[in-house]
C-alpha cells in the first residue's frame, strides 16, 4: 500500500510536472500575449505579471484547479479539489512532492542546469563553470534539485557526476517524439500536395506532349 502510494505520487508528480513545464514553456513563448493557443479551451493562464499560473481543466465533470507559485520559493497550492476529496490524503502527499519539483524548476539557474544535464552527466565543477556564482551556490541549487528528485548523484568515486532523473529523460524523449510527430503530420499533408502536383503535371504533359 505504502509503495503503491509513492508510485502513484511519483507518477502524478511527473505528469503534473509535464503539464506545468509545458505551461511554463508556453508562458515563455508567449511573453507578450498570454492567450492560449487554439485547442486548449479548458485551460486558463493568469496574468503574466502575477507570480501564479492558474491551471484549470474541466472534463468528465471533474475540476482540478492548481495555483502554481513560480516566484522562486513557492510551490503548488490546490485552490480547489472538487472530485478529489476522497483522496485528499494522497493529494496532499502529491502536492507536497510537486511543490518541491515546481519550486526546484522555478529558478532559471536550476532550469539551466537541468537543460544541460539533459545532454549528459556532469560534475559539479563542470556545471558551475558558466555561472558567475560560487561553487557553494551551485551546490545549493543542486541540493534543491536533488531533494525534488530531479537529479541524483549516484555513489561512487569523486568527483561524483550529477545525473538527471530517468523521468526527466522520458519527458525529453516525449517532447522530441511529439515534435517529430507534428512534423510527420505536416509532411503527410505535403505528400498530398505533391501527389496533386504529380497528377496535374502528368495531365498537362499529356495535353502538351512536353515535359514540365
Amino acid at each position: 500500500m505504502e509503495s503503491n502510494l509513492s508510485l502513484r505520487t511519483r507518477k502524478a508528480a511527473v505528469l503534473y510536472w509535464n503539464l506545468v513545464v509545458a505551461m511554463a514553456a508556453r508562458r515563455h513563448a508567449e511573453r507578450a500575449d498570454l492567450r492560449l493557443l487554439p485547442g486548449v479551451p479548458a485551460a486558463h493562464l493568469a496574468n503574466h505579471d502575477q507570480p501564479h499560473l492558474f491551471v484549470h481543466t474541466q472534463r468528465l465533470s471533474r475540476t482540478f484547479n492548481a495555483t502554481v507559485d513560480t516566484s522562486g520559493i513557492g510551490g503548488v497550492t490546490l485552490v480547489s479539489t472538487n472530485g478529489l476529496k476522497d483522496q485528499s490524503g494522497e493529494v496532499s502527499v502529491a502536492v507536497d512532492e510537486l511543490s518541491r519539483i515546481f519550486a526546484a524548476l522555478a529558478d532559471p539557474t536550476r532550469r539551466d542546469i537541468v537543460t544541460r544535464l539533459a545532454a549528459g552527466d556532469a560534475t559539479v565543477n563542470q556545471l558551475a563553470e558558466p555561472y558567475q556564482i560560487s561553487l557553494q551556490a551551485v551546490y545549493k541549487h543542486l541540493k534543491v534539485l536533488e531533494d525534488a528528485g530531479v537529479v541524483s548523484r549516484p555513489p561512487g568515486p569523486q568527483p561524483r557526476p550529477v545525473r538527471l532523473a530517468a523521468e526527466v529523460f522520458d519527458l525529453m524523449d516525449k517532447w522530441i517524439e511529439r515534435y517529430r510527430r507534428q512534423a510527420e503530420e505536416r509532411y503527410r499533408r505535403l505528400d498530398e500536395v505533391l501527389a496533386q502536383l504529380n497528377e496535374t503535371e502528368t495531365s498537362n504533359d499529356e495535353q502538351k506532349g512536353s515535359t514540365a
Partner: protein
C-alpha cells in the same frame, strides 16, 4: 509510395539545433514549389485544425514572408526572411510574433534521389539550448492537451 518512411528527428547534443529528415514522392522541383508557392504552402504548413492565411510572401533571396494561423478567432502570426533561395536549398529565418526575440535560422535542402523522389533535410538553429527545448516542448497545443488527457484519465481512475 508505401515505402515512404516517417520523418526522423535529431536534437543535437552539442549545438542548439533540431534536424528533421523525410523522403518524398516528388521531384526536388516540386518540393521547392511546395515551399515557395504561397498557395501550395498554405495547404500543408498549418495543423489541420488551423487555417493558414498568407499575408506577405516574396520567395526570393532577400524577400520576406508572414502568415497567420487562425482558429476560433485566435490568431497566431509567424514571419521571417528568405535569406537564400535556390532550387536545391532554402535558407530562412522563422519567428513567432508572440516572442519576436526568438529567431530560428532554418536551412532546407532538397536532395534528388532519382526516380521522382527527394529527400528533404531541415535544420533549425536557435540561440540557446533553453530555447531549443522550449521549441521542442512547444509541441504546444498537442502537448498540453495530452497532458490534460493524461491528468483526466488519472482523475477518472482515481489514481491521483
Amino acid at each position: 509510395m508505401s515505402t515512404i518512411a516517417e520523418a526522423t528527428i535529431e536534437a543535437d547534443p552539442n549545438v542548439p539545433v533540431i534536424r528533421i529528415t523525410r523522403e518524398f514522392a516528388g521531384t526536388p522541383g516540386q518540393l521547392f514549389r511546395a515551399h515557395t508557392d504561397p498557395r501550395l504552402f498554405a495547404q500543408w504548413i498549418g495543423p489541420s485544425s488551423l487555417e493558414t492565411r498568407i499575408e506577405q510572401w516574396d520567395a526570393r533571396s532577400g524577400g520576406s514572408w508572414r502568415f497567420v494561423s487562425t482558429s476560433d478567432g485566435e490568431e497566431h502570426a509567424f514571419r521571417g526572411c528568405f535569406h537564400e533561395i535556390r532550387p536545391d536549398r532554402i535558407v530562412q529565418t522563422f519567428t513567432y510574433e508572440g516572442d519576436p526575440d526568438s529567431v530560428a535560422l532554418e536551412t532546407l535542402w532538397f536532395e534528388d534521389l532519382g526516380n521522382g523522389r527527394t529527400r528533404l533535410r531541415t535544420q533549425s538553429l536557435v540561440d540557446s539550448f533553453e530555447s531549443r527545448d522550449a521549441w521542442l516542448k512547444s509541441g504546444m497545443e498537442v502537448g498540453v492537451n495530452e497532458g490534460y488527457a493524461k491528468l483526466e484519465e488519472m482523475l477518472a481512475n482515481g489514481n491521483v
